[in-house]
Symmetry: C2
Subunit: 237 residues, 2 copies
Amino acid sequence: MGTDRHEQVLDALGAAIANGSLVPGTVLRSEELQERFGASRTVAREVVRVLETMRLTSSKRRVGVIVREQAEWNHYDPRLIRWQLDGPARPAALATLNELRSAIEPCAARYAALRATPEERGKLGALGERLARTARARDLSAFLGFDIAFHDLLLTASRNPMFAQLSEVVEEVLTGRTGHGLMPPEPQPEAVALHLEVAAAVATGDADRAERAMRDIVVQARDEIAALVSEVGPEVE
Amino acid sequence: MGTDRHEQVLDALGAAIANGSLVPGTVLRSEELQERFGASRTVAREVVRVLETMRLTSSKRRVGVIVREQAEWNHYDPRLIRWQLDGPARPAALATLNELRSAIEPCAARYAALRATPEERGKLGALGERLARTARARDLSAFLGFDIAFHDLLLTASRNPMFAQLSEVVEEVLTGRTGHGLMPPEPQPEAVALHLEVAAAVATGDADRAERAMRDIVVQARDEIAALVSEVGPEVE
DNA sequence: GAAACTCAAAAGTACTACTTATTCAAGATG
DNA sequence: CATCTTGAATAAGTAGTACTTTTGAGTTTC
């Protein structure tokens, strides 16, 4: 297995902090952690080190390991994102991530139009076509797959490593959306057209047009979600 | 001192990876690391653990510690950002970070208009005023301070922890810009007016207007930098 | 030549001993 | 009585040794 002792304990303790079971300010002693998780001193120490670099905790001599305020956490750590998505705050986490992606993607589209390789431009067009085909066929799961591939490729082609890293986030948001009834039962023709528009703009290197089309996409998604959420009431922070 | 052994070795090794001294694919054995940095086994192991969680390295039994590809790194880790900014790739890193902030801030302005507390709205207006005053007085360093405070407050008021975390990034970009002659010798009246526009839009809760004004700000900054860089030639990736 | 088997190398785990910094409190000093 | 000093207790930090597990690579066997 790829799950050694270290990872098990890290997941357990990290998730406990991420989902609020261990409120900020809580003080843990490393000896206490060894008992609670049946881990050796070595494992406990290394787990604490990792949590410290994720800024979930800070260690002080003579005091112990202190759970930090949420505002201090490194919210971009993939592990933390995972823990939050798997916890009770999943809806709030998805909302946060969706806001992030809606901010990034139009800008990523712009730079993709300026910097994508010829291969990437071609492949983006091909993905757009497949997107349109699966939409017509109402094959929702295939559509999702191509949608994710489309957005991932665009982020990669932006040649900005910080944008590219958000592929996982976009994938999570897109799948999370279809999985929770936050998507119409069949892909909207408008959205498909906009994807083709983005691909065309990238193909011709039209940065402004690519950005505008992608902004339309995320705005549309935002409005849809807002409409659906308003029926239930907004999520608390 | 706050600099214990662990941190020293982490900084040394992390920086070496971040600035490319240790190219991806390089294999390090933990024993080798102990010698090179004169560190104990404990320290060497914990440092490797941390680098692993930052996705700068991966460890495999029977092989060693492998330096990962840049694309796999967690580029949002504050430490990694620091190492890159302090290394030879500083210009490229600043460009990447500037693209990130220019993507985020308009969106952050939108949500700040929707979710800021009354106190925050007031304080933002006050900062806008001080910004205008120092601009008129041509006090560039005071202007920078208020500028940073303005953008930080806006990000915080967006109530999105992932946006709020980028305060450090914005601070770095803004200071890096003035520090390297990438700013006019005195603040541009247009930029100041746009900041006041953002503050006014947030005060009245006008999301669209806040987003638009902030977008104008980052676009203006982008064009200025592009104009100055084009004289020297574009930075390589 | 392919599959199974063995061996050794290096990371992972565990444990013990020692060092250092920091808090808290008792006691000295003004 | 207040304040400063000192020291002891505590918990994290560092060091080192011993043992376990995984796995890549060479070797044997069919």
